[in-house]
């Protein structure tokens, strides 16, 4: 059985910071077509602040997620602060007392994040928002675990679900956020939040897998 050592929080979240900073302009560009073009700016601002604040510290996964969540909630405001803040706070709380995560408890952590975000937002799958990525990703992951797939295969399911969900937003009409004002005209474009969520989940899976491999080696 595969385990993720939760002491690698700084490492894993460092990867998440990288993917956001690397895609700052891309995310703003996606937001630009049907939103106000600042999603990359908003996200990069929060993730950079987190990264600066923990500079050189080696944090547990729970501590790292909680710190990121507090930075987002405390510094970026808007909708992204509470939404991604809740997601990571939920994930941080769920992993708080665990030294290792197996495929199932990793899934519990993801579900806790999803529940946390749903407690603050009324948005649903189909509204053309980050939940269109998050919900299928978490569901696919959990199904894989329920099917007794390996941790690695479950992570692949997470990636697949995220990418499929993200892609699904292209044909949706936005029901929430700024893009909702465009009605029909919002179709034909990816949702910026769905894209950032997909980037984050894929990188989380990549990073986790690398740690699993290293632990196995």
């Amino acid at each position: 059985m595969q385990f993720l050592d939760t002491s690698h929080g700084s490492d894993i979240l460092g990867d998440l910071v990288d993917v956001i900073l690397d895609n700052r302009d891309y995310l703003s560009e996606v937001d630009g077509s049907i939103g106000d073009g600042d999603h990359g700016i908003n996200m990069a601002k929060g993730f950079r602040l987190y990264s600066e604040s923990i500079q050189g510290q080696s944090l547990s996964l729970a501590k790292a997620f909680t710190t990121l969540a507090n930075t987002l909630m405390g510094s970026i405001g808007g909708s992204m602060g509470p939404l991604y803040g809740s997601l990571f706070l939920g994930m941080g709380n769920a992993s708080k007392d665990l030294d290792t995560l197996d495929a199932r408890t990793f899934g519990d952590m993801l579900s806790a994040g999803l529940e946390s975000i749903q407690s603050i937002s009324d948005a649903n799958v189909g509204d053309k928002c980050l939940l269109d990525t998050l919900v299928p990703a978490v569901m696919d992951y959990r199904h894989a675990v329920d099917d007794d797939d390996s941790f690695t295969s479950a992570l692949q399911a997470l990636r697949n679900g995220a990418e499929r969900g993200c892609e699904s937003t292209r044909e949706l009409e936005a029901k929430i956020g700024r893009a909702a004002r465009l009605g029909e005209r919002s179709k034909g474009h990816l949702d910026a939040g769905a894209v950032s969520c997909c980037l984050l989940l894929v990188r989380l899976a990549d990073s986790t897998e690398r740690h699993l491999e290293r632990a196995a080696a």
Binding site: D36, G78, S79, P82, G85
Partner: protein
């Protein structure tokens, strides 16, 4: 982008520093850089807090003062303040009699206030909220819960602030602020777009020779884009949905016309002349009119109209003394 700024990412912090330096009679700093409190709050009253994105000056911070709000949480441009900021505003406004948080119906604000209230609860600060939903263009009357808050928020602050100033308790402040904003029906017209400094390009477009009826304070789309009419026809196009929203006839009203930023104030008064004609024709008496830049959207051109139904309970609160950067009575 012709802006008077330094780093576009620090516009809000830089501006807050300016407000603090320019108006020490109104503003005092707090432990949170994005929270200002009234420098001379009277003691023993219910705290009144507001907050919202920047770019709407004088809203929100211009309504901190005597007979108005005690603290304000300040967000990035067109973006909700953080939960932390709302929490600190609750803390500095609370004098043990609870806090009335009076803000507008936007997703980010709702989420951040919700989180701040949860945190305030842990600190035993009693926070109650009124969420302004006065923009008739943003949803039909039977879906009022979806409506955005616009310039009717000013009446909510005025009435809630006046009730707190006369030492009403929290439930009464909340009841009156809710009653005030429920009595308001508003609508906006946009004549041009605006540019958020960090974005550097216009937020949306309105073709020259056109106006967007029902536009939101951040450029949210309205009911329709129509050829720019003359002021008389514009007044009618704004009065029609507002007067259809509530029965104002036979009573007194307060009227507020706010510019969206770049429209000269003389045009707002010109517009008001036609609104006044229309109200008179419908048998509605104007108790008072406030015409000016009260709730803007950076340098958008356009205006919002708010009509507020008054009764004997609201009238003295609307007229009560107030002193702040934005309004003085």
């Amino acid at each position: 982008m012709q802006r008077i700024i330094n780093d576009p990412d620090n516009v809000v912090d830089d501006a807050v520093r300016g407000y603090l330096r320019a108006s020490p009679e109104f503003y005092a700093a707090t432990d949170h850089p994005r929270v200002l409190k009234y420098a001379a709050t009277t003691s023993g009253k219910v705290g009144v807090v507001t907050g919202g994105g920047s770019g709407h000056e004088p809203a929100f911070l211009g309504y901190v003062g005597d007979g108005l709000c005690d603290a304000v949480a300040i967000g990035e441009i067109f973006s909700s303040p953080t939960a932390d900021a709302f929490l600190e505003a609750f803390r500095v406004a609370d004098q043990g009699r609870g806090v009335a948080c009076l803000y507008g119906n936007y997703a980010g604000d709702n989420m951040n206030v919700k989180m701040a209230r949860q945190m305030a609860e842990m600190e035993s600060i009693d926070v109650k909220t009124v969420i302004a939903r006065d923009d008739v263009a943003s949803a039909p009357a039977d879906q009022r819960e979806k409506r955005r808050g616009v310039a009717g928020e000013i009446m909510m602050w005025k009435v809630g602030g006046a009730a707190a100033a006369r030492h009403d308790d929290l439930d009464e402040v909340i009841r009156l602020a809710q009653k005030a904003v429920d009595a308001c029906s508003s609508i906006g017209v946009g004549l041009s777009s605006c540019t958020i400094p960090a974005n550097g390009k216009p937020n949306f477009t309105i073709a020259p020779g056109h106006m967007e009826l029902g536009i939101g304070h951040h450029g949210e789309p309205g009911i329709e884009v129509v050829p720019l009419p003359d002021a008389k026809a514009m007044a009618d196009a704004m009065c029609d949905p507002v007067l259809a929203d509530q029965d104002f006839t036979g009573g007194d009203v307060a009227v507020l016309i706010s510019g969206l930023g770049a429209t000269p104030v003389m045009e707002l008064n010109l517009l008001y002349a036609h609104v006044a004609d229309r109200l008179e024709a419908e048998g509605i008496t104007v108790h008072r009119a406030d015409i000016g830049n009260y709730f803007t959207s950076l340098e958008m051109m356009g205006a919002t109209l708010t009509v507020m139904k008054l009764d004997e309970e609201l009238k003295p609160l609307v007229d009560a003394p107030a002193r702040s950067l934005a309004i003085t009575r």
